[in-house]
Symmetry: C2
């Protein structure tokens, strides 16, 4: 059985100071699944799209060994749309438009054959939906969860119920501070671990990511890129690489989770090199490994003499 990924599929219109695209492929489940697909298959998506979702996107996903049989296609419905504009420094963005469309009525149904999935990634969607997914799972899956400030502010009670039931929370630095009401990230991470997840990964964009687990703090840099074309999906690509590697190795020890963080950072770095999912579409596991090695070079220093 493969990885189960539940999240959004979207049509994104993105503008940066240098370029823009209209109705390109986006959504958390999309980035997570393509990113995870380089590690081991099969990758299974559960999500929803409208009748207008281009067939070529479905084919691209399938070409990455992504099983879309759990994808609901709403006849007459419109796919979720998001539009955003990045600032000059590429670290901040304004959301120009969010049209939930078919996502508004989305009721995630996990196909019978996927209910015993051992590795599950809950993309950034309404925690009410994340709970519905958790309720359908059987056995003792390893669950990785993403969320965002919108849910932290609007659905905190539901989110806290989710947190009690997941193994890993992936969150960015401002979201961690918001969720814990604490400006110091190290304290905030401790407080969030007390809410449930054994492991927290705090993404810091161009500053990399921090992993907090039982007695362990691990710091991963971001890959140094001279040109970031589109930061959209970086966090989801991180999550995909992270869970993809854990699934491939079936090892959730702390040492292996550290490696998974580096694979996550690796996939995020490929993602931001091009618009939409383009940066992820034509990779190979060899290229992924090469970049992993660059992370090693970039962080290694000698022991004491």
């Amino acid at each position: 059985m493969g990885i189960l990924i539940v999240g959004s599929l979207a049509l994104d219109s993105v503008a940066t100071p240098f370029h823009s695209v209209e109705e390109a492929l986006g959504g958390s489940a999309t980035y997570i699944s393509i990113s995870a697909s380089y590690f081991s298959g099969p990758v299974n998506i559960v999500g929803v799209v409208g009748e207008d979702f281009p067939q070529r996107y479905i084919e691209m996903l399938e070409s990455h060994n992504i099983d879309v049989s759990g994808l609901q296609v709403v006849q007459g419905g419109k796919t979720f749309r998001w539009s955003g504009k990045y600032h000059y420094d590429m670290n901040t963005r304004d959301t120009l438009l969010t049209e939930l469309n078919v996502f508004e009525q989305f009721d995630p149904v996990i196909p019978d054959n996927l209910r015993k999935s051992r590795f599950v990634c809950l993309g950034n969607i309404d925690p009410v939906l994340q709970l519905k997914v958790l309720d359908q799972l059987e056995g003792d899956p390893f669950v990785v969860c993403d969320t965002m400030n919108y849910w932290i502010e609007g659905k905190q009670d539901e989110l806290k119920k989710v947190l009690k039931r997941v193994n890993v929370l992936i969150i960015n630095d401002s979201e961690a501070r918001l969720l814990a009401h604490e400006p110091n990230l190290i304290k905030a991470a401790k407080m969030i671990r007390d809410m449930g997840p054994q492991t927290i990964i705090i993404k810091k964009g161009e500053h990399g990511a921090l992993l907090f687990s039982e007695d362990v703090i691990f710091s991963a840099p971001a890959y140094p890129l001279e040109m970031i074309n589109d930061p959209t999906g970086a966090g989801d690509s991180f999550a995909g690489g992270f869970i993809g590697y854990l699934f491939k190795t079936e090892d959730t020890s702390t040492g292996n989770i550290k490696k998974a963080v580096i694979y996550g950072s690796t996939m995020a770095s490929f993602c931001v090199e091009d618009f939409s999912t383009k940066g992820l579409e034509n990779l190979s596991y060899l290229r992924v490994q090469d970049r992993y090695r660059e992370f090693l070079t970039m962080t290694r220093f000698d022991e004491l003499d």
Copy 2:
């Protein structure tokens, strides 16, 4: 011959959301020298203070094997004063007051016996003064230089003359962007290296530091602290640990410079744990090495299988 450090000695009044101090010991040369003193002596300061500079501070410096014979004491003069207030997140601060006092007329004179110093650290002072120091040096010293946005904006021509003559520039991320007119740090670092220094270290506060050298990018995390009491002097403490370790080992190879970056980060982490120079005053090389080992633990991940 020891390390030569030229910079400011100041009386700082600092307020954070949690505590405040009045006229505490501050200044770039102060932090750099105490920090460097844990690695190898002697450490030599060249700077200026007024008659009002408390004798107990001089004694504290001397107790760290810091030679103050190059320190000018201006009779009837007042010591440089700085006052600042940190915001709730401790990452940003407002300068409330800058009184140059005796610093306004400061003409750095390098004592004859220090002109052939092999390791020199130019603290963050007017680039005109940094040039005067460089003009007095003999031989082929290894020079580490700090600067700030104030000089980048006000004395850029002089600063660029300095940059042509130093080996390492230590600068923070916003200063690097300002100096290079480039928001991408990786590009900015390349552009600044083209201005002269073979090596650039970009400090990113709680996000650690990046080292850029010939064909090398190295990323060092910040030490994860749950309580930061006073960020003042962190950058100078970094510079002190960095040059202190290079001087101790007399090895400026890239591999050793990476280790020096970690020792710099180590000293910065001790600095911010207490107000003024208190966090640096009562350390031992064993404690410094213990923290260095923690940096190893925090960054190590396994090679590819």
